[in-house]
């Protein structure tokens, strides 16, 4: 028997690498010295209470905010590119085509004055599709996939319920077939029954499309259901990380023990 673990499958390259990512707001720490690698098909959860730095970290990873120091590498056409060392327009183009962001508030991710079909179809046009009939058909398929009835295709998002708006946002994000998706509290602000539907949908979509995802949540049940790995943040620092079930079932850090013991069993 070999003493050490030996690779049994060839490892593909990570799609996202964070190296010592640090974000300060003046004197205040947003997040401090965060490093990790994310592989295709993997779902990473970031948990922690409000103010723990999880959203700050997500904004850096997603290319929205420039970190104070550290580096974020995204693999594009086989080459790692440093997210904040490329021209702004190139970064914007990547953000549009290679990855997607699901915001907690669907209003931040949707065009509220454009029809549901338009919200989805617009992304197909970004990708270069020009044929109207094809775009509409494809938009229709996506609406069905996120369980929005076809006869709502010409309605505007403001006529939708919160849960429907969130599902529409997810369709809009996934349409261009991104390789990496960031989600900030994707089920926050929704009723529990609506949450369950959305969670199941996300779980299936992530699995079927094989995309990598980073999900920020304060809900440990959401983390357990959707993520493979977990990082626990407190005061801007990652205090514990590992396999999701390991971190939740055998927490070692004092703060993680506090988090997991504070959950009421339903």
């Amino acid at each position: 028997m070999r003493e050490s673990s030996t690779p049994v499958i060839a490892d593909p390259d990570p799609i996202l690498i964070a190296k010592n990512v640090t974000k300060h707001y003046g004197e205040r720490i947003g997040c401090e010295d965060v490093s990790f690698s994310l592989w295709p098909g993997e779902v990473l959860g970031i948990v922690g209470e409000s103010g723990s730095g999880k959203s700050t970290l997500l904004r850096c990873l997603a290319g929205i905010d420039r970190p104070t120091s550290g580096e974020i590498l995204f693999r594009h056409e086989g080459e790692p590119i440093s997210l904040f060392n490329i021209p702004e327009p190139t970064r914007r183009k990547l953000m549009r085509t290679e990855w997607g962001i699901v915001h907690q508030n669907p209003r931040d991710g949707l065009r509220m004055d454009v029809s549901a079909g338009g919200n989805v179809g617009e992304r197909l046009m970004d990708r270069g599709d020009r044929h109207y009939g094809k775009i509409r058909r494809s938009a229709m398929e996506w609406l069905t996939r996120v369980e929005i009835n076809e006869d709502r295709i010409d309605d505007r998002p403001r006529q939708f319920s919160g849960g429907m708006q969130q599902r529409l946002q997810i369709a809009r994000v996934l349409v261009p077939e991104p390789r990496l998706v960031f989600m900030d509290e994707p089920t926050g602000g929704l009723d529990v029954s609506v949450q369950a539907r959305l969670l199941d949908l996300l779980r299936v979509l992530v699995r079927d499309l094989g995309i990598a995802a980073v999900i920020v949540t304060h809900d440990l049940a959401v983390a357990r259901l959707l993520t493979d790995r977990l990082m626990v943040m407190k005061g801007g620092y990652v205090v514990e990380e590992g396999l999701t079930d390991q971190v939740l079932d055998d927490p070692h850090h004092a703060y993680t023990q506090l988090l997991t013991s504070a959950v009421l069993a339903a």
Partner: protein, 232 residues
């Protein structure tokens, strides 16, 4: 004989930071190995750490010290030091954990739950459906329940869904934590048969059974954890 799992010097203590940082030692220096087609039953009174050991073997708990080498194809993976993605890969193909509790996912149908591990291993949908149906029937779960999500099922029904899922295509290493706990005699017999069949196919079994009769029918060997009890 082919070694399937080798535990080396496993030691576990829990540190409870919010309860006066009390340290609970469980066991120390547990070492053993399990071959293909063996069924090792963990033995010892309640609190000796049987479930804790089983969870460490699966990578669910982290030991304070020691290693768990499990066979993964032609190689061995140390579940303690392997990266999370490697552990998940091993769980998909090489090691399975069966408890008496089913972790219910909202809205997912019983038949899909049973098919899921087969699909993850690349079995065709038609084949997976066929085998899932056979297994659910064998465990006497009424057919009208197959297309429902098990959230509303009784404890015994949920447990049978869990067993169907785990035994429909048994992993080369199977960890069993009281899989027969709330089953009636007929279904208990089915589980004992399933375990025997998995062994015949070469699976290595490590399990906890409180039912003395079941234990005697399943075990090829006992591992008494009392001897490893850590000094408090």
């Amino acid at each position: 004989m082919t070694t399937m799992l080798k535990a080396e010097g496993l030691t576990k203590q829990f540190v409870l930071h919010h309860q006066d940082s009390v340290t609970l030692p469980v066991f120390a220096e547990v070492s053993f190995s399990v071959d293909q087609s063996e069924a090792v039953i963990l033995h010892g009174p309640s609190g000796v750490g049987k479930s804790t050991l089983l969870r460490i073997l699966y990578g669910n708990y982290r030991p304070s010290k020691g290693h768990v080498h499990i066979r993964h194809g032609q190689d061995f993976i140390d579940i303690v030091t392997a990266t999370p993605r490697r552990v998940l890969e091993a769980r998909r193909k090489s090691i399975g954990f069966v408890s008496q509790f089913l972790r219910v996912i909202p809205r997912v149908k019983t038949i899909e739950i049973v098919k899921d591990p087969m699909l993850a291993r690349g079995v065709s949908d038609a084949e997976a459906t066929h085998r899932a149906r056979d297994m659910l029937a064998r465990l006497n779960l009424p057919e009208r329940l197959w297309t429902l999500a098990p959230s509303t099922f009784s404890g015994g029904e949920q447990q049978r869904v869990n067993i169907a899922r785990s035994f429909v295509d048994p992993s080369p290493i199977l960890l069993l934590d009281e899989p027969t706990a709330s089953l009636d005699a007929a279904n208990r017999d089915v589980v004992v048969e399933l375990i025997a069949e998995a062994r015949q196919r070469g699976s290595a079994i490590i399990g906890i059974f409180h039912d003395e009769a079941v234990r005697d029918r399943v075990a090829t060997r006992r591992l008494d954890l009392t001897t490893y009890k850590a000094a408090a």
